[in-house]
Amino acid sequence: MKKIGIVLRYELKEYLESKGFVAFTIVLALVGAALLFLPRFIDMSDFTGVQVIGGEQQGDGQGESGEAGETGEKELYLYYDQAGVVREELLGQIFYGTDWRQAESREALTAAVEAQEAEAGFVVTGPVEYEYYVFNKSMSDNNTAMFDQAMKLFYRMDYCAENNMDLNEITAMYDVPITVSERILNKDSGSNYWYCYFLVIIVFMLIVMYGQMIAVAVTNEKSNRAIEVLVTSTTPNSLLFGKVIAGAISGLVQTGLIMGAVLISYQVNREQWGGMLDMFLHIPGDVLLSFAFFGLGGYLFYGFLYGAMGALVSKTEDVSKSSGGLQVVIMVVYFFSLLQLMNIDGPVIKVLSFLPVSSYSTMFARIAMGTVAPWEVVVSFLILAASIVGTGVLGARLYRMGTLRYGNPIKLSTALKDLKKSE
């Protein structure tokens, strides 16, 4: 254990003293935090629905363009009504915060839209027909949907007038308001889905990034021939465990600092954001805790295997070859985990949450979104912990075996056969 500590401190020092590591961590944490403080200093009401003037929060998040309309110029829309059905005053209400004007002709409307003097134009050719003119149609353009709504209203109004009916009465009957009082007794998958999605991505990236770093570090020891001095100075277990745990700690520190800065900054500025990022950044403590434990467990599980893969090659350019199989397993688990978030209490994710190759991402997702008994969490974690020890010992043996085998990369199957022979 003492030797593991010595290796761990030495390796950790390398991570923490690396200018790249420190700069990356600080810059990302600061940028993340700074972005979340923006609504305090900049009017982002278009985006957040909350207006901040002189540090005081205004508005209630209603009507994006309406806010813009009160503080700035209104967007101009044109219509040319050949059917005589349009009520201009209603268009202004349906297209909130916009300015409407009747064009003199279809050509005049087209010319104004083409010259970008108007946002868009509508030529109403009949009670239920119209043409839509726009210069550049954006991805989020919903003007036709809103104009459809307006046309239907005009039609209903005309129909009621012609048939001597009361439009308000009919509307009240059709749009009777329903009051719902929702009581979620366990988890709200809808609101927990996105942060789970992001946490799965984060843990996946951590495993791949740090795993690769561990593999490269081991291969470097072979390629610079330091490995013989090391394995004759201490045990392979101390070397591999120290190296992997150091990587885990530095990953935890880095992710902790960046995520901590982002989550705390959001918490401080949550009101200014109008709670709109809750789905990503308002993560309950128990989910964060389970993420930390299972994420760390998964990291260690794969870290040892990456270390062993690094020992099977002699050149850093061969590391990706050697760890390719492992990457495939991680990728498959990653995609399955994301897919199964949609069916969080299904049998597939239940099984995945007990397998050490996948429990690191699926169990905390179940904790966050699904129904999971405490015993399931404990059993899953115990299986993961036992597997970490198993892969650690196997990894150390492969590492020891690959120590002085230079030259061509050793296949994992060959390495395992050789291990069996040496027993």
Partner: protein
Amino acid sequence: MKLEVKNIRKSFGEKEVLHGVSFQVESGRALGLLGRNGAGKTTTIRILMDVFHANSGEILLDGKKFVPSNHRIGYLPEERGLYPKRTVLDQMIFLARLRGMNTGEARENAKKWLARLEVSEYETRKLETLSKGNQQKVQLAATLVTNPDIVILDEPFSGLDPVNSQILKDVVNELIADRRLVIFSSHQMSYVEEFCDNIAIINQGEVVLAGELREIKKDYGRNRLMLSAENYDQNRLAEKVEQEFGDLVSISGRKKEFLILELTEKGSRRKVMERLAGSDIEVERFGGYAPSLNDIFVAKVGEEE
């Protein structure tokens, strides 16, 4: 301390590379492990260091099973290497700590050995910024950082210039004088000859000659004489010896300055001297021939092949 290697056998796959290697060495003495490239020296050393496991045989220290991790051993592997991107002092302290020293001792010893090997000025530099020779010296300092009782040096002189070789020679001599047990592998005979009291010549995985160097030299020189003449060049002298001294000696070798003669069964030094006195040869050099280790090595390894 007495280290005994007994009948070590090692196979890689189907191929046996060591066929029963045995030798022994004691504290205060140095053993030279000699052999051509690929003879089995490094494999033997790696078995000693527990990097490889022997298929059979045993290694004893003072009669008990030798477990390298229970002793402070200074091992300089043939494949040199430390961390190129870490500072010299940091990695020396790290290695000393791994070998059981506390941080204070490790720092003190690291500084001591860096000073002894004249590389103190580089202690805060990254290893990769040093010249190859200085990197070698740092590697040697890292080998000795724990003041080991057992020192195993695999080809320690390779890559060193004459000045650095001299520093290393002095250090090795100090280790021997300090009663450390030193095992030294090389194919550079002159260095082995300088330090080693005992040698073991390994050829194709077998010890073909082992023992005390002085005795081995004595044995090899016992019936050999050297002869050169003022009035004959070496070729003519060789012809004359073959014609007139053939019953007493045969020519067993030539050096740049003299012939090496081997006494026949009938021959003796006195008879050869008498015959020389009666001949027209004006003797320039005559006497017993003390073979160099190189001669012994070439003769022994050549014989085996």
